[in-house]
Symmetry: C3
Subunit: 473 residues, 3 copies
């Protein structure tokens, strides 16, 4: 078995000047508390505080980065324990799943997934051997053993990870029982939800009409009428805000926004409920709701996040056999400047609105996002998202955006993960890359080190709090 | 107050090999005269040679890079002294405007604006303290004091900046009185205009029909008939050429060109005057005129510049309240290969035509501009434009273009600025980044140092003269 | 005359850490045999083994990278010996053509063409002076002299270049007589063809209908009926496979694929033969054939290569006067995710299909190719193609793709050249850049050196064999 050693200088430039500056900057921010304003961890973990079941279900199954790579190299989803919709049995034995991951772990060389998992293995579990086919059992046993220990309960890890704030993401229809349970438990950790209304905003979402009936029940509003539909959103937003939410999140295939008269809105809503909107009309409906959400944000203060441009569930067979969210989502081209104009025409100059933009289309960094956020008071550029939550992805993001938008129209880091154990690793990677980038600017005399230190702290902390209005932290 | 010190090695790589090569290269080109073949300074400065009024109106107000950033962070345009269209009074006190800039100067960390302004403060004004809220008054006074001195008159600065050639940009309707006054003054500086006919080429320009009447008056041609319209252009071009102009400049939302029969041209012109062209027809009209301009260039030798792909005045409220050009312009996707084909089919192989292409859509660097300019004798790739007139922007431009088009299908540097005081800073940044890029190639044995030195000189000087046909320099 | 010296550390980073790691890695892969699974050399060279005629016809004329650059700077194609279609005589004297190249050789500073040609001059011909106007004759004589020597025959060079496998590319209608002659000659070199059916797949190809008649004759199938047309492909593929081909190659303007019913296929075929398809229908026809080719690949095992997104013969005058393939091809935007969906819906999860994707639109690296290949078992990302077969092009390719798709969904290197003498140079550049990139990852502690060495070997060798199913090597 080969040793696993994470080098203390990892991700810093090998240029001695830059490396020593990066070390100093990183030394000042490495242990700052983690603020995680957007992600997809399960609040029940913290509500129930049950031990995690096993290494595979903790580290592998919730991580679509991992299983999509194995799938791409011919490993079947059933052998990886992904549940089939037809009830046929998939692999049940977590040890066998773990062995498959270990056998294919070389596929992740050069990818962030490997950085994150190695970090969790070494830093969280104290594993000192490299994961591969030969060490799989040893590593499995070591993790499994620790998971039984109370030090590895969700809340204990949360505390140990030094998480100051964690936002989960729930459907508009969620009762947030887990969050209530967390709050009522007296535990000191701060875990709040994010208002994610896609299921009642996207006419193409499975069960949209049924979801609207559910929304009506929850709110006592007539969601088949436009004003009732909006009022229902207002009530649900208030429900989330009461429980600590500071943000909403909108996952849309495009960045279309609209500003129609009420009559046109009602017609779109009618069509959405009847299920007979064209694809373009569905886009307009979502775009209209986005503008309405901005209007509500001005009333209730929720920060808006727009994650635009994903083709969901591209793989027809995987969708049919295993369902949605099985690693078959792909980026799409996206256009912001024209798309957001109706919303911006109404609210773009209002500093009280905060709209954070995310993209998987890197061409928009310098062509749209930076120029937009470098002008409109309501806009900020979100951190590099998903496939770009990586060393090179972050560097391209910085280099394309900062010169036009500056640092202060950006938002620090989001981990955006459902893999709880990767949170410290992801924030560590982000801080290292931030310090590396800043060290480059210092070594090239584009900043002085005092300025760089202030920026490193802002990126780890101040900009996040400011962007997400975490004024209580 | 913190000291302001521009490091002599700034913008060079921190790699010792590269840095020492860059130093040597830069040493050979740093003090070469400035050739500024495209920009937007005001010729009246040099005609009248009046002292500049105050620091804010000299350094801040003409610089939309600066006020768009402050606006993006919630500073109102009125407080920055930007004039409202309704006559309501904006801030009049330049000292207060300067203070606002200073209070927000941290926003520019990592941006070229800060590089340029710091350079002007230190190199032009001899300021040795960093601009911030606490030093604002001190810096204001120091600049204000110097501005009263004859050494800081426009012409004195022009000479001190070692500007060998400066092109301004005027509307086709401009009488170039300022340029005549400069020439008649006996001053030795070379300041010429550039023919910018957008106001009489773009049917969507405010007052297009009125502008055409004005064009008719100026030329004695019937601009409502296609041949008269073209003849009027020919006369105005000749007028500009007599006064030293060597280039025309065309700011178009797309890179569309057309090659229609005269009848279709007349119909488009009729519609343009009547104001009833569709957006697509307006695009065709502009595209047809672009091809006609190429034909005229073959006759009269003006170098054509095409600045394609800008969404002007995206912010509806700012446009309504403050008018155009208030920092609300955005890049747009642009397509050159199909768009330019009609023009290239006619003139693309004619070496006597020179068409320089500019883009704000970086995806076109490697996909369109470099392959086009690396094939068509009539084409050259312009320098990185606007948001990309920056360290990273220049490096991406070089790395995406040179390997396909070579250095000799590029054009050196344009400052393209209305901020006169930033001219030496911008050229200095460009020369530093050029030398840095070349030093990288030398240190990696992709060029030898003698070749790199020749290229550094060409980029600062020879390629610019050649591209803009400045044969007298 | 200046000396020509290729530095042993060329293309490595100048950072001492990275450089020494790169040296060690490169030392292990520099002399591995060349596997060239995709290219356009002429099999008759190896069949006939005649001496190459002269320096210009060997090194210049087959290389459109070279003559497009000279053309872009005003050198006429006739003076470069490019044959006119009207029979008018072009330059016949290779020494004069060579002189023109030498006079303009500075145009290639910073381009891969210069790297390749310098490498051939020094390494293949032992020339020790730099090519320029003054050395042109000397260099010409030296090469010309060596070409008469048997050590410089095509086969001798093939052996000296240490080529283990070379694929050429022939039309579906080719009889592969050259390949038969090679095989029958008893020579040990492995040269096989690649099935390239564009002439009988693309309704917009010159002579498509005639080509289909030819295809019918060759196969005894009725190519005017859909099933006969497909059967004819099957027979030709079998013919190629019998002669060692392991791959097909498809050069399409888009990445469209289709999956129509037979009746619709027949209608498209009818229209294609009649020559009355619209541009969009022609795209659908090609897209349907692509899907059929995938089906056939599942039967006969040919690896599919899709080279998508080229505008061929953009220069109208050059096309009219000199014909196709005269350096006037340009990249185009291309979309893969939607385009490939019909094919992927049928076969994307089948590991037995291998479809390698190439693009000239770099925006697709991170937005489409890496996410697609990082999910679908049937897909791999091809190496950087054409204008991106360059140092910076390769680095951008790696940095944009590996973090999402990993190394093992890529395919090593293709030289894709018709310039035989550049093959060792191109593979050397690729290996150097691979080692440089890996050295960066090692120096930044993103890989350890043992992992990097394994990857360097895979990139030079294992991944190529695996991607192209060269199981016998």
């Amino acid at each position: 078995m080969k040793p696993l050693v994470l080098h203390p200088d990892r991700l810093f430039s090998s240029d001695p000047d830059q490396r020593s500056i990066a070390r100093r900057l990183y030394g000042e921010v490495a242990s700052l508390p983690i603020i995680s304003p957007h992600g997809h961890t399960d609040p029940n973990w913290f509500a129930d505080n049950e031990p995690f079941s096993d290494p595979a279900n903790l580290l592998f199954t919730p991580d679509h980065y991992l299983f999509r790579m194995l799938f791409s190299q011919g490993v079947s989803l059933t052998s990886l324990g992904i549940q089939r919709l037809d009830g046929q049995v998939s692999e049940q034995n977590p040890r066998r799943i773990w062995q498959l991951l270990a056998d294919h772990y070389h596929l992740f060389l050069g990818t962030p997934s490997r950085l994150w998992l190695d970090h969790a293995l070494q830093d969280v579990f104290g594993i000192d051997v490299m994961l591969d086919g030969s060490s799989a059992n040893h590593v499995y046993d070591a993790i499994d053993d620790r998971l039984k220990h109370p030090d590895y309960s969700p809340r204990a890890l949360f505390d140990r990870f030094n998480i100051e704030f964690l936002a989960t993401t729930e459907s508009a229809l969620d009762d947030l029982a887990a969050h209530d349970k967390i709050r009522d438990s007296g535990w000191s950790g701060t875990v709040v939800s994010t208002y994610r209304p896609d299921a009642v905003v996207d006419p193409e979402y499975e069960g949209f009409a049924v979801n609207l009936i559910e929304l009506a029940k929850l709110t006592g509003e007539d969601t088949s009428h436009w004003q009732g539909y909006l009022a229902a959103h207002r009530k649900r937003r208030a429900y989330f805000i009461e429980r600590g939410a500071t943000a909403s999140d909108h996952g849309h295939p495009t960045a279309t926004t609209c500003d129609f008269e009420e009559k046109a809105c009602q017609q779109l809503l009618d069509g959405a409920i009847a299920g007979d909107l064209t694809a373009q009309e569905a886009d307009l409906f979502r775009g209209q709701v986005l503008t309405e959400m901005a209007a509500m944000s001005l009333e209730d203060g929720l920060v808006m996040q727009l994650h635009a441009g994903v083709v969901h569930n591209h793989n027809q067979t995987v969708m049919k056999e295993f369902g949605r969210d099985k690693g078959a989502d792909l980026p799409a081209s996206v256009e912001f400047s024209k798309g957001l104009k109706p919303l911006l025409d109404r609210f773009g100059n209002d500093r009280k609105l905060r709209l954070i933009l995310f993209t998987l289309d890197e061409t928009t960094y310098s062509r749209e996002l930076a120029p937009l956020a470098g002008h409109y008071p309501a806009l900020r550029v979100g951190p590099p998202w998903w496939f770009f939550d990586s060393v090179e992805g972050m560097l391209r993001h910085k280099r394309s955006i900062i010169e036009t938008a500056g640092f202060f129209n950006t938002c620090g880091f989001n981990d955006d993960t459902r893999a709880f154990l990767s949170i410290p690793a992801r924030h560590d990677v982000a801080r290292r890359v931030d310090c590396r980038h800043l060290a480059e600017l210092v070594a090239e005399h584009r900043l002085d080190e005092e300025q760089a230190l202030g920026l490193a702290q802002s990126l780890a902390n101040g900009l996040v709090k400011d962007a997400y209005r975490l004024t209580d932290l």
